[in-house]
């Protein structure tokens, strides 16, 4: 295993008496796109600032390409940051902003000009060299900030919610463009966002942060398909989180009693820290629930059918969200379907009797229930 580009060793940081990071350890390989994902206040931005050198950790160490940089100031680290508000210098024009780092290094003007032009071409801003920062749009400012961080050819780029201020359409376009630039240059990106869709779209790996710890670290598909906690299941995509009693546990199988009512046999997960008789949380993705409007013949394909009351159907354009009550406890499940269902809903849908079709292997066992 080669020395990783970045290594964080149990980083802790408190502001006053509030712990923000509680022992973050992380490795980033060269050329990797890692996203730090989590709600606001979870510590993802602080982690980025520790890597950039803007915060000194109370405890733990930071290594860049094998060398410890924990005590080095930002200007002595080979990483650059794209700031959330871009932080472009208003007294300099576009080209002067991009050239800022090169001029500091004493690069001759001719060489610097060539590099600036290349960087601006990369972010599709050729011809904007002499514009003032106040004269360009938010999306263009974002590109200038990216060019300014890229022009010095750092091995690692830190991006702090760089697309947060852009409108949805521009954000989607920039996501793909950023990813393309990252691949083309073979740079490692550490990308902070609270937008799970953005994280899924762009990342090689995602680190899900919650309350100063990394809840789960893995590839987007892995995190989406196999969330390890109800926090991760709920934060990445939508999830129905239910309580279930582990009534029996064998080497290959777990028998669950959902909401004290419905018995299901599911494959035993690889990691499970609950014992027989304990109550666990389980997750079921809305798109994995099929809604049937007439009772299906009992199929032999291992599918489970549950009768339910339909509570509400919400039209979302490309999909329809259906709220269902399959349990006596009145717990509501959400199902999402791409099929046109208006006809079957007969106008006033509430109270209609329907059936849910669930594949037991789609049920994910999460952590032990606190209750």
């Amino acid at each position: 295993m080669p020395e990783p580009l970045l290594r964080l060793e149990s980083i802790s940081k408190s502001f006053g008496s509030t712990p923000i990071l509680k022992g973050i350890s992380l490795e980033v390989q060269a050329g990797e796109f890692l996203t730090l994902l989590g709600p606001s206040g979870c510590g993802k931005t602080t982690t980025l600032r520790v890597i950039g050198g803007f915060e000194h950790p109370d405890d733990g160490r930071v290594f860049l390409a094998g060398a410890e940089v924990t005590d080095l100031p930002p200007y002595r680290r080979d990483v650059h940051t794209v700031f959330q508000n871009y932080a472009l210098f208003p007294h300099l024009n576009v080209a002067e902003n991009v050239a800022f780092g090169l001029v500091l290094r004493g690069m001759p003007k001719g060489a610097a000009d060539v590099r600036v032009r290349e960087a601006l071409a990369l972010v599709k801003l050729s011809g904007f060299e002499s514009r003032r920062i106040s004269q360009i749009s938010g999306g263009q400012q974002q590109r200038v900030a990216l060019a300014r961080a890229l022009v010095g050819r750092p091995s690692l780029l830190l991006l702090d919610e760089p697309l947060g201020a852009l409108d949805l359409k521009l954000r989607k376009a920039m996501q793909l463009e950023l990813k393309a630039i990252q691949r083309k240059l073979g740079l490692a990106f550490i990308y902070v966002t609270h937008d799970q869709e953005e994280a899924l779209t762009m990342s090689d790996r995602i680190a899900v942060f919650n309350h100063g710890v990394i809840e789960q670290l893995g590839a987007p598909k892995d995190i989406y398909e196999h969330p390890r906690s109800s926090f991760v299941a709920d934060f990445i995509g939508a999830a129905n989180i239910l309580d279930a009693k582990l009534t029996r546990l064998t080497d290959t199988e777990a028998v669950l009693l959902l909401e004290n009512e419905v018995e299901l046999r599911v494959p035993r997960p690889k990691t499970l820290d609950a014992a027989e008789g304990e109550t666990v949380r389980v997750a079921l993705r809305p798109e994995r629930i099929e809604v049937l409007f007439s009772q299906a013949s009992a199929s032999a394909s291992g599918l489970t059918h549950l009768p339910a009351l339909l509570r509400e159907a919400v039209y979302l354009g490309s999909a329809t969200q259906i709220f269902l009550e399959p349990f006596k406890t009145g717990k509501t499940l959400v199902a999402t379907t791409m099929d046109p269902v208006e006809k079957q809903l007969n106008g006033n849908a509430s109270g209609q009797r329907v059936w849910l079709e669930i594949r037991p292997s789609d049920i994910r066992i999460l952590e032990r229930s606190a209750a």
Binding site: P73, Y75, F83, H91, F100, G101, A149
Partner: protein, 318 residues
């Protein structure tokens, strides 16, 4: 846009708010809030305008008129038009006084900038919690009468003053007292003492507005603390440097109290010259001409600055 009664009712619970027909006062208020210039908005600036006309414009006009009259034998005004006062004011005899005034004002401004910038910088970036108290300390000399302050300086710096008393008699470090008063350095020191807040407050105003993220961005791009200051903080604080320099320089050029009390013949300034024409020499026309030349000089300088600044804004520099 007219709305029928039925539409308003359809709006539900908020209808009672819009039920009342807007009266003339509502319309007036909303026009002011929209930023339209109506007679009401003129009314808002009327008291200040009236004050400025009566107590600033009128006296300046009076002085302008007086500057073209002649002095009678016993100091009274002779109401006949003459340009003799200006001819006399522009003779080489008075040039050294004008240059000295400009020089003292320039030195004071430079010293205020040198002393004030670090203070304003620390205030903006390091002493967030104690900011209020530090600003109060800075403003403290303003709260006493400026005459009291100046007499205190005489008590401290005079020949028999506190400093000499300590140095010569108490500690015996010197055999003879140092002469502080009637020296250019002391007058300039006094001017710095009085005008420092005029420099610090605009500096603080512009430094405080420099976002911390700019400084972090500079460091991120490889700038050490000195380079960060020189390439980011300093250029962004230039509006405050200009404003503070103007606010210090202009009153300094016309100042006469400091030189009157802390100085002497060697530090005779334009302000003293003008004041003497109105008091001892009883030559109001000549004093008026001198005053008008000073006003013209400063107003010209200000206009030039504004013009440069506007060009800067158009080029996007500021």
């Amino acid at each position: 846009m007219a709305r029928s009664e039925g539409d308003v009712a359809a709006l539900g619970p908020t209808e009672s708010l819009s039920r009342r027909e807007p009266g003339p006062f509502d319309r007036l208020l909303s026009s002011v809030l929209r930023g339209e210039r109506t007679w009401a908005s003129h009314l808002l600036v009327a008291p200040t305008s009236a004050w400025l006309v009566v107590f600033l414009l009128a006296p300046i006009l009076l002085i302008l008129i007086m500057s073209f009259t002649a002095r009678g034998p016993y100091g009274m005004l002779l109401w006949r038009f003459t340009t003799a006062n200006y001819v006399r004011a522009l003779t080489p005899a008075y040039l050294p006084i004008l240059l000295r005034s400009l020089g003292y004002a320039g030195a004071t401004t430079a010293l205020c900038l040198l002393l004030g910038y670090p203070f304003a910088y620390a205030l903006s970036f390091y002493f967030e919690e104690r900011r209020g108290m530090l600003i109060i300390l800075l403003m403290l000399p303003f709260w006493t009468s400026c005459l009291v302050a100046i007499y205190s300086w005489i008590i401290v710096l005079g020949r028999e003053g506190l400093v000499n008393e300590l140095l010569v008699h108490r500690f015996g470090l010197l055999s003879a007292p140092i002469q502080f008063l009637n020296r250019p350095a002391t007058v300039i020191g006094g001017l710095v003492y009085f005008y420092l807040p005029f420099m610090v407050l605009p500096l603080y105003g512009s430094l405080e507005k420099v976002p911390h993220s700019y400084i972090e961005a500079a460091k991120d791009l490889g700038a050490n603390p000195f380079q960060t200051f020189w390439r980011v903080t300093w250029p962004l604080s230039l509006p405050g440097v200009y404003a503070g320099s103007i606010l210090t320089f202009i009153p300094c050029v016309g100042d006469f109290l400091t030189a009157e009390f802390l100085g002497g013949p060697r530090t005779y300034l334009l302000g003293n010259l003008i004041q003497n024409q109105f008091q001892m020499a009883q030559d109001w026309p000549f004093g008026s001409a001198m005053a008008m030349i000073l006003v013209a000089l400063l107003a010209g300088g200000l206009l030039l600055y504004q013009r440069l600044e506007r060009q800067g804004v158009e080029a996007g520099r500021v």
